[in-house]
Amino acid sequence: MTLMDVRPGVSCVIKNIFVNNLRKRIIDMGLTTGTKVTVKKLAPLGDPMEIQVRGYLLTIRKAEARMIDVELSHEEADQ
């Protein structure tokens, strides 16, 4: 699944980043393979999305989130 498909309030772990456009920026902002990400909410107009990563809040568009492969983190998967 991709980061775009993760529901608000759910955490996941990044598997792979296919983003081309903002790839370097995304990596430098701390989204690397194995990083835990929590989706916080969507903007009032439905896009971009707000995520929590490495203890801070980052906002990213669905277009980019769609290019980030994730899997649900263990706590979520257990439930």
Partner: protein, 733 residues
């Protein structure tokens, strides 16, 4: 000694800079470079250093222009010492840049800022352990409360920094790859930057063709040796080290409390209430500045100002100086200045609220909320902040476009900002709307602001579809934690902007007013060149120019040469439009008053339609010299600058023409024409939407990695999902 101040955006860098350079700072643009790099002097007992404030950056990888400046500065080893300011309340992300800087081998001090916030959250950071692990000195401060600054200065002065070079070592196989690259660079830092940034770095380094080729081959060969994507190898390792470090040095309370920021955001970026609240906040700011409250304060201010100026004018007249001197002083200088300065309270209120919004962290939320809406027009939420600043003044707004990631995006935003009505244009509306629309004046002013915004957005769309197709309007942005704007910072921010306005009034505008006065009070009458009486002002030099241009402006309803002249002087500074009118209508004779006294002559010379056309023309035509200079700096091309100025003039003329021609028709006809135009626009819009809909299904497909994949196999799950998404979106709008 040269000290560079480097840190993440919003880490309190500017506050520290102000604290360090203090009252005796000589803040000026960095010589020789067009980009903003501020430098100031730090003077303490027996210690003197030049502090260079580099733009706030997240990484040394050159993505945005600001990063390029900072990164080049570090790469060229222009500093003797780096002060790396780190937001202690956001250690993990901030340390990424710290590690990048450590690679440079330049002596460095880490300054842990925001320790007060860390304490408030009941966390603790072991500063000693942090320093031991990083192998560089660490100083804890709270810049906004001025805590620890003196200690930092003493510390900087007490040490001999030369020869202390930090080194970060990486595990295998990273080190061996660095070694391979280092063979070519003979510079560990460059080798690491090459590892991270890839082939893109080669261009600015200007190596010979053979080395370039060898490096490219080496890069491709090394890429195969690592499991991860090659450009992720170093960041990943760096973050791994950072996590280890953070776990070691920080203690957090066992029960994680939901932070204040989260609580505030639950309301302010709420799915349903977020948007109306945003509208309400923006409206309140303008209502407070230009509505009853602002007007009330302004009236009091103007009364005081009038008294002062008229006392001075009386005093000067009683001195019995030559007529031209008293004419120059009372009509030229006082008349112009009074008209301009009287709008100071409203501008101060506007600047005050904008800086509160900025300092508190709401501006970033505004970008987050508006991104989706702006994207349609080729802009991103991030362009929203510069555009919002444009309501204050175009010059800082145009400069602020540097935070955007791509050159095309920067160009696009910089080109449309002048359409956003700046603070200096407000007095024009004040006079014209006030004179002719009475109680509806506030509504007309609001309409003007909307018109500016509308033209800006539509122009952005037009540019994006035609000349700036590459503009991608990227968006990825941090939401900073909310902070109570400190009185000091807000005051300084507001004061700096007000001061800018006042300085302009005292220098550029003063000269402009004197020139305007000369041209309007001197002229040739009966073959004699002399000082004119107020009644003969039509014969003046300026009057001649105005009348010469009259045929051009009559179609847009400006049938009085004074209006034309006022508009022309607006190119010097928009503030002077009203001032010029004041001089030309001779209202500054004895008691110098602003707007209110201008109402009578304006009512005589303008109708509602032509006043609206005048306002629209002033709003949309070429911005002032300062803004043009700022645009030149950002567009970096005379061709583009000439284009945008011609475009602005054309649009301004067309819109004013439309307003005046339709507005002068009988009411019924006017409404039917407006209705017809709206109908045509709606039909066109629908057709365009239907045509372009297919292409827009996949958001940022043009540049996405799976582009080919995306088009050829539309049945992938992601793609399907996205299609349904788009469809439901179009229902919403």
């Amino acid at each position: 000694m040269k000290i560079a101040l480097v840190g993440n955006p919003n880490s309190g860098k500017t506050t520290l800079f102000n604290n360090l350079t203090g009252a005796n700072q000589s803040v000026g643009n960095w010589p020789g470079v067009t980009i903003e790099k501020k430098s100031g002097k730090l003077k303490a007992k027996g210690f003197e250093a030049e502090i260079i404030d580099l733009p706030g950056i997240y990484s040394l990888s050159t993505i945005s222009l600001e990063e390029e400046i900072a990164s080049r500065f570090v790469l060229e080893r222009n500093a003797d010492l780096i002060i790396n300011i780190v937001d202690a309340s956001n250690l993990e992300r901030n340390l990424f840049l710290t590690y990048q800087l450590l690679d440079s081998g330049i002596p460095m001090v880490v300054v842990l800022n925001c320790m007060d916030i860390v304490e408030k959250k009941l966390q603790a950071i072991d500063v000693g352990l942090l320093a031991d692990t990083l192998k560089v000195p660490v100083v804890a401060i709270a810049a906004s409360k001025r805590r620890g600054i003196d200690g930092l200065i003493r510390y900087l002065a007490s040490k001999d920094w030369e020869g202390i070079s930090p080194v970060v070592s990486y595990p295998e196989p990273i080190e061996s790859t660095i070694a391979v690259f280092n063979d070519y660079f003979q510079d560990r830092f460059k080798a690491i930057r090459f590892f991270e940034d890839g082939l893109k770095l080669l261009e600015p380094l200007k190596l010979d063709a053979k080395t370039n080729l060898l490096l490219t081959e080496a890069y491709q060969a090394e890429a195969k040796r690592h499991d991860l994507d090659f450009d992720m190898v170093i960041p990943n390792e760096r973050y791994r080290q950072i996590i280890d470090l953070c776990e070691k040095v920080t203690t957090k309370p066992k029960i994680a409390t939901s932070g204040t920021t989260e609580k505030i955001d639950r309301v302010l970026t709420h799915r349903i209430f977020g948007l109306p609240l945003f509208g309400l906040i923006m409206f309140s700011v303008f209502f407070l500045a230009f509505g009853p409250v602002g007007t009330w304060i302004t009236d009091g201010f103007v009364a005081g100002l009038n008294w002062v100026f008229s006392q001075m004018a009386n005093g000067i007249e009683s001195l019995g100086m030559a007529t031209w001197v008293s004419s120059l002083v009372t009509q030229g200088v006082f008349g112009g200045l009074a008209s301009v300065v009287s709008f100071l309270p409203q501008l101060a209120i506007l600047f005050l609220f904008l800086s509160i919004l900025e300092d508190s962290g709401y501006m970033a939320r505004a970008a987050f909320i508006m991104d989706r809406a702006l994207r349609r027009f080729g802009l991103s939420g991030k362009s929203f902040i510069p555009m919002l600043l444009g309501f204050g003044c175009s010059v800082p707004a145009i400069t602020a476009t540097r935070t955007l990631d791509k050159e095309e995006d920067r160009k696009l935003t910089a080109m449309v900002i002048p359409f956003v009505s700046c603070g200096a244009k407000a007095p024009i509306y004040g006079v014209f709307a006030g004179a002719l629309f009475f109680s509806n004046a506030f509504f007309m002013v609001f309409i003007m602001y909307l018109l500016g915004l509308l033209v800006a957005i539509l122009s952005a769309l037009l540019f994006k579809k035609t000349i700036l197709k590459k503009a991608s309007a990227n968006y990825i942005m941090e939401l900073p934690e909310y902070r109570m704007p400190s009185f000091n910072n807000t005051f300084r921010h507001t004061w700096e902007r007000v001061k800018g306005f006042l300085v302009k009034a005292g220098t550029v505008l003063l000269v402009a007013f004197i020139i305007i006065w000369f041209f309007s009070y001197f002229g040739v009458i009966d073959g004699e060149f002399r000082l004119l009486d107020s009644s003969e002002i039509g014969q003046s030099l300026l009057g001649t120019i105005g009348r010469f241009l009259l045929p051009l402006f009559q179609p847009i309803g400006i049938g009085d040469w004074r209006g034309i002249v006022a508009l022309l002087t607006g190119i010097v500074a928009k503030e002077s439009v009203v001032g010029t009118l004041g001089i030309l209508y001779g209202v500054s004779g004895d008691a110098i008053q602003n707007g209110a006294l201008l109402f009578q002559p304006i009512r005589e010379a303008f109708t509602q339609a032509s006043a609206t056309a005048f306002m629209a023309f002033a709003l949309l035509s070429t911005p002032c010299i300062a803004a043009i200079a700022a645009m030149k700096k950002e567009l970096k091309s005379w061709k583009w600058l000439a284009f945008i100025i011609a475009y602005e003039m054309t649009i301004a003329y067309l819109v004013a023409l439309l307003i005046y021609q339709i507005g002068s028709l009988p009411r019924g006809t006017a409404f039917s024409i407006i209705f017809a135009i709206l109908l045509i626009l709606f039909v066109l819009y629908t057709i365009i939407r239907l045509v372009t809909r297919k292409a827009s299904i996949c958001g940022s497909c043009g540049s996405c990695a799976l582009k080919n994949n995306c088009v050829s196999s539309p049945s992938t799950p992601t793609e399907k999902k996205n299609k349904t998404d788009t469809r439901s979106d179009s229902h919403e709008t």
